[in-house]
C-alpha cells in the first residue's frame, strides 16, 4: 500500500519565498522515507506541513484514508487531532516533567487510566531501552538518552506516522552511528511509518527504505538509496548523494565497444555505459569506478594528491583535461606526481544532453 501517506502538489510560501513548491509524494505503510537536501531546501517545512504545525497554501495531505488537509475542500486538521508523532532536532523534552511524565503526557491527554498509562509507558521505555530512568529530569540525561526519551514520547501514542526532524544531528559521531541502527530496529519492531528529514545523505542512505531529494522547495528525485546512487537523474542528485566526477563527454562506439572522449580528446573505454549510445552527454563517474594502473591501458594521467584513510585511499588525478577524484583500495599505493593510466568501469549519463 504505497499511498498510506500521500502529499498532493503541496505548496507553502513564507512571504516571497516558496519553501515547499508543489511537492507530490507517497509513502507506504511501514516504510521509512528519508527526505534529504541542503539546508534551506524546504525539507523541514515539508515535515511541519505533515505535522500540521504550518498551514499549506495549496495542495492536499492524506493519511491512512483520512484527509488531513485539502485546500480545495477547506479541510485542515489541527496538529493535536492528527495522531502524528514527532521528534525535534533538540528533542523538546519538557524540562518541568521527568521522563515518565514526558512520555505519559500523550496518553494522559487522551484520558487513559492510570494503570494503562503505566503499562504503555513501561512498554515503550523498554522498546527504546530507557528502563530505570523514569524519575530523571531531561537535564539529568545524556544526549543519547534524551533522544530515546523523545522517541518514546512520540511512539507511546502509536502514531500513524512518525516524523523525525534531524534527530541525530546533535549527537556525536559514534552515538549517531548507533542511533541509526536503533531507529531501524524500532521501525522493524513497531512497523511504524517514518518520515525522516536530514541534511546528511550518508545517514539517509544508511536507514532509508526510500529517499526523496529536495532542492529549493521542489522534489528532485525519489527512489531507493541504491537507485539514487547509481542512477542520479540530475547533476544535483549526483553531487549530493555521495561523491562523483561529472564529465562532459562524447560517446563513441568502435567494434562493439563503447568509449568516451574526454575533453582533451583522449579516449577511455567504459565497460558499462548505462545503456547510452553515441552522442554528447554529462556523465557521472563515481570515484570507485575509476581504475588506476601503471601498465598502460586507458588514458594517461598524473597523481596530484594522495589522501590515505586506512581502509581506502583517495587520489586526485589530472588527466584527459579534467580533474578526477579516485577511490582505491590501499593495496596499490601510488605516489603524488606519478604518471599512471586509468580506465572507467561504469558511468551514468545525467539526464541532460550537452548541445555542442
Amino acid at each position: 500500500m504505497r499511498d498510506y501517506l500521500r502529499l498532493e502538489l503541496l505548496t507553502k510560501r513564507f512571504g516571497e519565498t516558496v519553501a515547499v513548491d508543489g511537492v507530490s509524494l507517497e509513502v507506504g505503510e511501514g516504510e521509512l522515507l528519508a527526505v534529504v537536501g541542503p539546508s534551506g531546501c524546504g525539507k523541514t517545512t515539508l515535515l511541519r506541513l505533515i505535522a500540521g504545525l504550518e498551514v499549506p497554501d495549496d495542495g492536499a495531505i492524506h493519511l491512512g484514508g483520512e484527509v488531513l488537509f485539502s485546500k480545495e475542500r477547506h479541510i485542515f486538521v489541527p496538529p493535536h487531532r492528527r495522531q502524528v508523532g514527532m521528534v525535534f532536532q533538540n528533542y523538546a523534552l519538557w524540562p518541568h516533567m521527568n521522563v515518565f511524565e514526558n512520555v505519559a503526557y500523550p496518553l494522559k491527554v487522551r484520558g487513559l487510566g492510570r494503570g494503562e498509562v503505566r503499562r504503555e509507558v513501561g512498554k515503550v521505555l523498554s522498546l527504546v531501552r530507557l528502563e530505570g530512568l523514569e524519575g530523571r529530569h531531561p537535564h539529568q540525561l545524556s544526549g543519547g538518552e534524551q533522544q530515546r526519551a523523545a522517541l518514546a514520547r512520540a511512539l507511546v501514542m502509536r502514531p500513524r506516522v512518525l516524523l523525525l526532524d534531524e534527530p541525530l544531528s546533535n549527537l556525536d559521531a559514534h552515538l549517531r552511528e548507533e542511533m541509526r541502527f536503533e531507529i531501524k530496529r524500532i521501525q522493524r519492531e513497531t512497523g511504524v511509518t517514518i518520515v525522516h528529514v536530514t541534511h546528511d545523505q550518508s545517514e539517509a542512505m544508511a536507514i532509508a527504505d526510500r529517499m526523496a531529494v529536495m532542492r529549493r522547495g521542489r522534489l528532485v528525485q525519489t527512489g531507493p538509496p541504491r537507485e539514487l546512487y547509481e542512477h542520479p537523474r540530475t547533476e544535483f542528485v549526483a553531487r549530493f548523494i555521495g561523491v562523483t566526477n561529472l564529465l562532459p563527454c562524447q560517446i563513441v562506439e568502435a567494434d562493439g565497444r563503447k568509449a568516451i572522449l574526454l575533453p582533451n580528446g583522449a579516449a577511455v573505454e567504459v565497460r558499462d555505459l548505462d545503456g547510452l549510445s553515441e552522442g554528447t552527454a554529462m556523465l557521472s563517474v563515481r570515484p570507485e569506478d575509476i581504475v588506476l594502473s601503471r601498465d598502460g591501458g586507458g588514458a594517461e594521467g598524473e597523481i596530484e594528491e594522495v589522501v590515505y584513510l586506512g581502509n581506502v585511499v583517495y587520489y586526485r588525478l589530472s588527466g584527459g583535461g579534467v580533474d578526477l577524484r579516485v577511490q582505491a583500495a590501499p593495496g596499490e599505493p601510488f605516489q603524488a606526481g606519478e604518471r599512471i593510466y586509468f580506465r572507467i568501469r561504469r558511468a551514468t549519463a545525467i539526464n541532460r544532453r550537452l548541445s555542442k
Binding site: 523538546a92 519538557w94 518541568h96 503526557y105
Partner: protein
C-alpha cells in the same frame, strides 16, 4: 496562523480558541486604552486650544520648564551613569560590590521619597539647614531646594542608574577584541576609548538617556513638592492644577503635548535598541582587561563612595531617623525616639486603610496586568495572527502616557453612566491595569522569547489542544517569569502617586495619596516617614524575591 478567506466554521476544530482570546483581549484594550485616550484627544482637538495654550503664560512656562528639567536631568544622569559604568566595568576600582549595591539602592528608592528626605535635610527647617543657619548665623536657608534646580538634582540622582545599567550592560557584552584590535593598531588608551568603545556603546547610552528623559518629563510627585511651592510649573503639575480648576480643555491640550514628547523619546529608545545588536561578544571571547587607575585608584573610589553615601544612604537614613522621632524637628536624642509612628501607621484609620487599599489595588492591578501581558506577549511573539500588531500597540501605548494624563483620561472615560467608575475604587484599579500592563508585556514577552517554540508544538503533537498545552506546558514553563513580572508591577503600583492622587475619594486613599497629602502638614512628617520606610522595605523585599525567582535583577521604572 490561520489566514483570511477561510470560513471559521471549517477551522473550528481546536485552534479557534486563540482567535477568541485575541478578540477578547483586543476588545478589552479598546475599552480600557483606546477609548479613554481618544476622549483626551477629542477634547484637545480643536486647533484653537493650542492658540489659547500658546497665549497662556503659565502653560508656556510649564512647557519650557518641562523641556529644561527633562534636558538637564537627562544630561546630568547620562554623565553620571556613563562615568560610573565605565569605572565599575573597565577599571581596577576597589569596592565595586559596595558601589554597585549603593547604585541599586539609589534606583529602588522612589524619587518622591528621596524628595521628602531632602526636604527634611535641606528644607526651611531641615536638619542640615538648621545646622548651617545656627553655625554661621545666617538669615536665610543657604540652599534653595524649592526650585527647578532642586527638582533637577533630585531627579538626576534617582535616574542615572538607568543609564548606568544600559552602559554597563553594553560595556560588558562588547567584544573586547574590537578594542584590542585598535590598541594593536597603535591607538592610545584614550584614543581607543573615544574612537572604538564609546561609539560601540553609544546606542545603549542614548537609549538609556531616552528612558531618563521620559521619566523626567513624566515626573509628578517630586515636581509638586519641590518646584510647585515656589510657583514653578511643569506640564504634569500644570495638568494637575488645570484639572483642579475644572479646565478640562487645558488639561487635555497639555496632555497631548506631554504624550507627544514622551512618545517621541520612546520611539528614539526603541529605534536605538534595535540597532545595537552588532557589538555582542561571543561566549568564547575573554573578559576585557581592566584599566589600571594607579595612584588615582583610591581617591576616585573615595569620591564615588562619598557621592553615593550622600545621595542614597544619607536621605534614607534621614527618613528612617524621622520615622522614629516623636515629632519632626526634635533633636535626634535617645529620649526623643519612639515606635509610635509605626504603631500609628498600622492602627490609625486613614493610614491603615491606605496601606490596605494600596495592597489590594496593586495586587489586583498586577494580576490583571500579568494576565493581559501573558495573552498579548504570547500572541505577538508566537503567532502571525492578523490583529496582533494592533493588540501590541494598544497594550504598550500607555508607556507614553504620564500618570496625570492617564488619570485625566480615566476621569473623562468613567465619569458618566452607564459605567460610572469615578468615585469608586474600580477607577484606580482600572487605571493601574492600563498604566502597568506595558511593563508586564515587556517582562513576559522576554520570557516567552526565551522559550523554545518546539516545547509547545510538541504539546500539540502529543494531542493536547492549544488551551491544554497553554495550561500544561507554556504557563508552567514561564511561571517564574510571570511571577517576576507580577512582583514588578505590584511594586510600581504600590508606590505610585499621581494616578491615585487624582482619582481617589473618601475611603479609597492609597499610600501614594498619603505620602503626597501629608508631606506638608506639620506633625505629619514622622508618619509619612514611617510609611516611606515601609514602602522602601517592601520594594527591597520584592526585588530580592524577583532575584530568587532566578530572574536578572530587575530595575523598576
Amino acid at each position: 496562523m490561520l489566514r483570511e478567506g477561510w470560513q471559521v466554521s471549517e477551522w473550528a476544530r481546536g485552534f479557534d480558541a486563540r482567535e477568541v482570546v485575541l478578540a477578547a483581549a483586543l476588545a478589552l484594550l479598546l475599552v480600557l486604552v483606546a477609548y479613554p485616550a481618544s476622549l483626551v484627544l477629542l477634547k484637545a482637538l480643536p486647533w484653537s486650544n493650542y492658540l489659547d495654550l500658546a497665549a497662556d503664560p503659565l502653560a508656556r512656562r510649564a512647557l519650557l520648564n518641562t523641556l529644561y528639567v527633562g534636558g538637564a536631568v537627562t544630561l546630568l544622569a547620562t554623565l553620571l551613569g556613563v562615568v560610573m559604568a565605565f569605572l565599575l566595568t573597565r577599571t581596577d576600582l576597589p569596592l565595586k560590590g559596595v558601589l554597585r549595591a549603593l547604585i541599586f539602592l539609589a534606583f529602588i528608592t522612589p524619587a518622591y521619597i528621596g524628595a521628602v528626605a531632602w526636604i527634611q535635610l535641606l528644607g526651611r527647617s531641615g536638619y542640615v539647614t538648621t545646622l548651617l543657619v545656627d553655625a554661621f548665623d545666617l538669615s536665610a536657608p543657604p540652599i534653595r531646594l524649592y526650585s527647578l534646580e532642586g527638582l533637577i538634582a533630585i531627579m538626576a540622582i534617582h535616574l542615572y542608574p538607568l543609564v548606568f545599567l544600559a552602559a554597563s550592560n553594553a560595556l560588558s557584552i562588547t567584544d573586547p577584541s574590537l578594542e584590542d584590535a585598535a590598541a594593536s593598531s597603535g591607538a592610545t588608551k584614550l584614543k581607543v576609548l573615544t574612537t572604538i568603545t564609546l561609539p560601540l556603546i553609544l546606542p545603549s547610552i542614548l537609549s538609556g538617556a531616552a528612558l531618563v528623559f521620559i521619566q523626567a518629563i513624566a515626573c509628578f510627585g517630586v515636581a509638586a513638592v519641590i518646584a510647585l511651592p515656589t510657583g514653578h510649573y511643569v506640564l504634569t503639575t500644570r495638568i494637575y492644577t488645570a484639572l483642579g480648576h475644572y479646565d478640562v480643555r487645558m488639561a487635555c491640550a497639555l496632555s497631548v503635548v506631554l504624550v507627544l514628547l514622551a512618545g517621541a523619546s520612546i520611539a528614539v529608545h526603541n529605534t536605538l535598541l534595535r540597532g545595537r545588536r552588532y557589538t555582542i561578544a561571543t561566549a568564547e571571547s575573554r573578559k576585557p582587561g581592566l584599566i589600571k587607575l594607579g595612584r588615582w585608584r583610591l581617591p576616585i573610589a573615595a569620591v564615588l563612595l562619598l557621592f553615593l553615601m550622600a545621595t542614597t544612604v544619607l536621605p534614607l537614613a534621614t527618613i528612617v531617623l524621622t520615622s522614629f522621632l516623636k515629632a519632626w524637628g526634635l533633636r535626634p536624642a535617645l529620649g526623643n525616639l519612639t515606635l509610635g509612628n509605626y504603631a500609628k501607621m498600622a492602627s490609625e484609620g486613614l493610614t491603615a486603610r491606605a496601606m490596605r487599599n494600596s495592597l489590594a489595588f496593586a495586587a489586583g492591578g498586577a494580576t490583571v496586568a500579568a494576565l493581559i501581558g501573558l495573552v498579548v506577549s504570547y500572541i505577538s511573539v508566537r503567532t502571525r495572527m492578523p490583529g496582533r500588531k494592533a493588540l501590541e500597540f494598544l497594550a504598550t501605548m500607555p508607556l507614553a502616557i504620564p500618570g496625570p494624563v492617564l488619570a485625566t483620561a480615566m476621569i473623562l472615560a468613567w465619569m458618566n453612566p452607564p459605567l460610572r467608575l469615578y468615585n469608586t475604587p474600580w477607577i484606580i484599579l482600572v487605571a493601574y491595569v492600563v498604566a502597568f500592563t506595558p511593563y508586564a508585556v515587556r517582562n513576559v514577552s522576554g520570557v516567552i522569547k526565551g522559550m523554545d517554540p518546539a516545547l509547545e508544538e510538541m504539546g500539540w503533537m502529543s494531542g493536547a489542544s492549544w488551551a491544554r498545552t497553554m495550561r500544561d506546558i507554556t504557563v508552567p514553563l514561564i511561571g517564574r517569569g510571570l511571577w517576576a513580572g507580577w512582583i514588578l508591577v505590584f511594586l510600581m503600583a504600590f508606590r505610585e502617586i499621581p494616578i491615585s492622587t487624582m482619582l481617589y475619594t473618601q475611603g479609597t486613599e492609597t499610600v501614594g495619596v498619603l505620602l503626597f497629602a501629608l508631606k506638608s502638614q506639620a506633625g505629619g512628617m514622622e508618619v509619612v516617614s514611617a510609611v516611606a520606610v515601609t514602602v522602601v522595605a517592601i520594594t527591597l523585599i520584592g526585588q530580592l524575591l524577583v532575584e530568587k525567582l532566578g530572574m536578572r535583577r530587575a530595575w523598576l521604572l
